[in-house]
Amino acid sequence: MNQKKSKPKKKVTEFEFLKTPSGIDGLDEITEGGFPKGRPTLVCGSAGCGKTLLSMQFLIKGITDFNEPGVFVSFEETAPELALNVKSLGFDVEKLKKEKKLIIDHVRVERSEIDEAGEYDLDGLFIRLGYAIDTIKAKRVVMDTLESLFAGLDNQAILRSELRRLFHWLKEKGVTAIITGERGEGSLTRQGLEEYVSDCVILLDHRVIEQVSTRRIRIVKYRGSTHGTNEYPFLIDEDGISVLPITSLKLNNKVSSEIIPAGVPGLNEMFLGGGFYRGSNILISGTAGTAKTTLASYFANAQCSKGERVIYFAFEESPDQLIRNMKSIGLNLEAQVKKGLLQIHSSRPSLNGLELHLLTLRKLIKEYKPSTVVIDPISNLISVGSSHEVRSMLVRLIDMLKMNNITGLFTSLSQQNETQVQNLAEDSVASLVDTWITVRDLEGIGERNRGVYIVKSRGMGHSNQVREFVINSRGIELLDIELGPNGILTGAARKTNQLHKKVSELKLKDELNRKDREISRKRNVLEANIAALRNEFESVQEELSLLKASEELQAKLTSDTDINLKKRK
């Protein structure tokens, strides 16, 4: 085929760089829209890292989601093989082929069959591809693995110049292409394909660190566009490839002001709002045996009681064990499980890599649509990955929950030491969580009591006191605050203090009674005195009036005598 006059290329400005969505979960977020439209992209990586799958997914999602037909040129696997391989991922290749949306062309390069005699070019390939593209009006093309040509043909000079022509030709055709290439020693691809495909290069990697394998994807270059430059973990599962971008979220999630209860009556009151905000993240940290799981179960149960769905991830206990243990304190989780409101998932943290844990979580969240997720404990996940991985995983987890407005409650086991050094998991999430509750041992004279306090609670006033709580067969009970002379009292000290208080109260009562009696006696005396004085007064008064009377009589008598004397004269 001769070089045709190149069609006027679409003018691509910086401001609208045309991209083709890849259809791969998360990849478009890293590439900020997808692969460069109408240009070839090189996907390279070592054997078994998911190149073929990625390209197949690109094609199939292109057909199903974006109605862009695609051509798959396979140099390695035959069409039935490919169809079978991706069938397990739920891709029905045969159906798409029948609908004339997909063409799989197996180009077999058999060295033993081919002899070279003189000059040639690869127009055969061009024509085949061109014919396939024109037949179904394909917008997407995959060539997997182009490097097989190097094994089948001897004349490297022709091959290289033809490849260069191929990529030009693909651009002219205006198809978005993926070219896959094997990772080479010291270079991205064994045959240096990156020299030809210079628009976008994506590197896939599959590595095993401490017996746990992780797949990673990195965009090596992307001409004309910004892109995420980190290595992003990705997963292959029954839904194909999904990339988990770490930094894709921009913290613009909607927030809810709805309050949900913590499940423990006293604990609710420690928050000014009476509980947690819906969609917030709560961390319960504490040393071993401080009832973190119990608190978490209470919380889960409280949500279930409102008819909301909860997923409980238990990394330490089996579902039955958890149910049994909670029953012993009067919490019937089984009923919630039977009602279908509670799902308990137990697995060993080391079962798989962090990413797979995250993906399991993500899947369950998608399927089950819970309003609340409990992870008990997150500190166990540390055993699986390095500090950086754990951190980034937790960040992504929290982001994911926030995006879906799911309330998340995590427990974390802290080391039992005096210095109160935070462990890794705690350290990682401490700044991310909205509410942080710490349960701790309050050790006193020969006893150990449990105390709970709130370290932080974003957007809500909260109590600053350490509240003691007890767990008995009826459940958790937060005790009222007992203030002693030296602060808050717990356990036996609380009892002693209470006793002291009672005794002194009794004493006071007695004293009061006694005083009352005394005063009444005093009143009696007073009254008696008053009566006596009055009597005395009255008797004096009487005497006085008597005297007055006798004096009057005397005066009268005297005047009578005087008159009589005058008469005689």
Binding site: V109, I114, G118, L122, G124, I127, G130
Partner: protein, 99 residues
């Protein structure tokens, strides 16, 4: 050019009348006339006209000479300018040379 049951059935794939194609055709006719006179047939397929035929014989490069019969199928790519290679490739010559 086509005989009903030729002993040697050859097929030449070309893509338009390019110099390479013309060369290849000239060359194979020349060799055939010399070595396979009267017992061969050459079918010429222009992929620009019939692109759908490229898949059947797994054509990648152009020009490609395919020996359809006798089996097994052999392919020789290039303008066939190297006579020795073509004859060896078609298994016309080696019987006497190699053994």
């Amino acid at each position: 050019m086509k005989t009903a049951k030729a002993e040697w059935q050859l097929r030449l794939y070309i893509a338009g009348q390019t110099p390479k194609s013309i060369h290849a055709l000239e060359n194979i006719r020349k060799y055939a006339e010399v070595h396979l006179k009267g017992k061969y047939s050459i079918e010429i397929i222009d992929l620009l006209v019939n692109p759908q035929l490229a898949e059947g014989d797994q054509i990648l490069a152009v020009p490609t000479l395919v020996r359809k019969f006798p089996e097994p199928i052999r392919k020789i790519i290039g303008d066939l300018s190297n006579e020795e290679k073509v004859l060896v490739g078609l298994n016309i010559k080696p019987l006497t040379v190699n053994h």
